[in-house]
Subunit: 325 residues, 2 copies
């Protein structure tokens, strides 16, 4: 049986549903989760959407984002709990106990690896976004899409494909986006809401970080640091760092890019890679983790020492990586 | 009669075709032009593709780009000349006399305004890219798409929609892109070829320009300057300036963004606007021109004086523009 048919049947026979996202929630898990919540409410279900880490400012335009809770009271129980893009239980964060108390647990995930924990699992690593899977699930529920659902699903698809730039952008994704636009939403409005209208200070900080970039290992590794002095000079806050590491990853010859941010006593390292180089292995060498192409770590200690250790880890990873472009 | 049917009939009855682009050619006019050239060669036609300003480095991956000529010998005549995205004859540049000597002139354009000069005109301001129009023309020619044609057309569509970010991104464009991907090309390969793999020096220059941005008129106008000193410090060449003005246009509150580049005795001004503010009117005040949302000028004189005049022109335009977001 198609897992989506079984999941739809389980949801239809429930009255009380919890939907939850992974830690550090993104446009895909929140967009897909909020679209499913809207569809289930159309069927008369009582739905709670939870995100242990809340909703980032750039995603608060999503329909229903203002009703997302960060915690579930100890006594609450649900007929069904649905997790969005949680490849393992620990990715659910503090909402995990409420999820595991539900009578049925449903996991919808598209990560390359998934550690099973649910009664029903829709795991599709070929999907560009769980938004694609939830679009199909809503069809199985028999609920016609409306504009708010289409906006939430388009946000899921647009954000997880890097606005259709990443390799997961298939013809199927583009056709889904076109179908969603038939409901009166546009890619432009999603892009504007999620990515644009940044404060001038954040753009100055992006500039200062890129201007200070350094190359290592014959140009295969690019690094830059965001220092307390840079924050002071540009007027930006640490939360406004964005786009730096992605921009560096696309420099000619660069296979691994790293940004080091000075925090109180620790250094936050963001790592991106391409052409077969594994960002997660470099992150693991620093005590962090992540995906093959995107990973990170929080390293206790100073900036210079962390940068030196990270470049050394990157050197080892690149020398063992034989994948060529 | 549908202009494309008439244009296809004219092309089919010809043996010798000239296809040409506008000055400062982009991915749309070159991609669409080269796709049409491939289709016509399949029909046994002799085809010359000309671009008075040549082919920018970022578009040299296009199939047939290495055969694009920048001039046509005085004596040469063609049965048909097709212009791509030339809203008036002067946009053809030095290739214009050869175009106007042809027995039939065909214009394919999607600009908001078009000053007629051709025997047959396919003018469709609703098209996101002339690549959309040429895709349909190739269907009228009865030539099945192959991978090289699909790559050229996808490049046209991807570049003229800002990788599907701009307001001209319709469901129809996304479905066309999906159909083109069915021929084995990907958005990712186009993005990588056109936009990525920039030299580190160009990314440092982008950073330095963004770090130095200034706001005017209560934050509605953003400006920055690219000075000779900045080029020296980053190691970049003037041809490597890209992405600066687009990044500034998206800052919260900004309605008009301008970049000033010091050249020998002149200042090149790039202008972008949104929310109803007219970039072309600001450019005209400086002796330049362009479109409503993207315009430019070459101003003789110094940087500070040009910037002062430009900010004053921007102030006047914003005070007369009543369009709100």
């Amino acid at each position: 049986m198609n897992p989506r048919a079984a999941i739809a049947a389980t949801l239809k026979s429930s009255s009380n549903v919890l939907i939850t996202c992974h830690l550090g929630p993104d446009g895909d898990c929140l967009g897909a989760g909020l679209a499913l919540a809207l569809a289930l409410r159309r069927l008369g279900k009582s739905v709670t959407v939870a995100s242990a880490d809340g909703v980032p400012a750039s995603l608060r335009f999503l329909p229903g984002a203002d009703q997302v809770v960060t915690a579930i009271p100890d006594g609450s129980t649900f007929d069904v709990a649905v997790t969005m893009e949680c490849s393992s239980v620990d990715r659910i964060g503090t909402v995990a106990p409420a999820v595991m108390r539900a009578r049925s647990v449903v996991a919808i995930d598209h990560h390359a690896a998934h550690a099973p924990y649910a009664d029903l699992t829709d795991w599709d690593p070929r999907a560009a976004a769980v938004g694609e899977q939830v679009d199909d699930l809503i069809k199985h529920l028999g609920v016609p899409l409306d504009r708010p659902m289409a906006l939430a699903l388009l946000t899921a698809v647009v954000t997880d494909t890097g606005v259709f730039r990443f390799g997961n952008t298939t013809g199927q994704v583009l056709r889904l986006a076109a179908d969603l636009m038939d409901h009166g939403v546009t890619v432009e409005e999603v892009v504007r809401a999620v990515y644009e209208d940044q404060p001038a200070a954040a753009v100055r900080l992006l500039g200062a970080a890129l201007a200070a970039l350094e190359l290592h290992e014959g140009g295969a590794v690019a690094t830059t640091a965001i220092t307390a002095a840079m924050l002071a000079a540009t007027g930006a806050s640490p939360a406004e760092v964005s786009g730096v590491v992605s921009a560096m990853r696309t420099i000619a010859g660069v296979r691994l890019a790293m940004v080091f941010e000075e925090r109180d006593g620790t250094v936050r390292v963001s790592i991106r890679s391409r052409d077969g180089v594994r960002a997660d292995r470099v992150a693991e060498a620093l005590g962090g983790g992540g995906h093959a192409a995107a990973a990170g770590a929080e390293v206790p200690g100073g900036l210079d020492e962390t940068r030196r250790r990270a470049v050394e880890a990157a050197r080892r990873e690149i020398s063992t990586s034989h994948a060529a472009r």
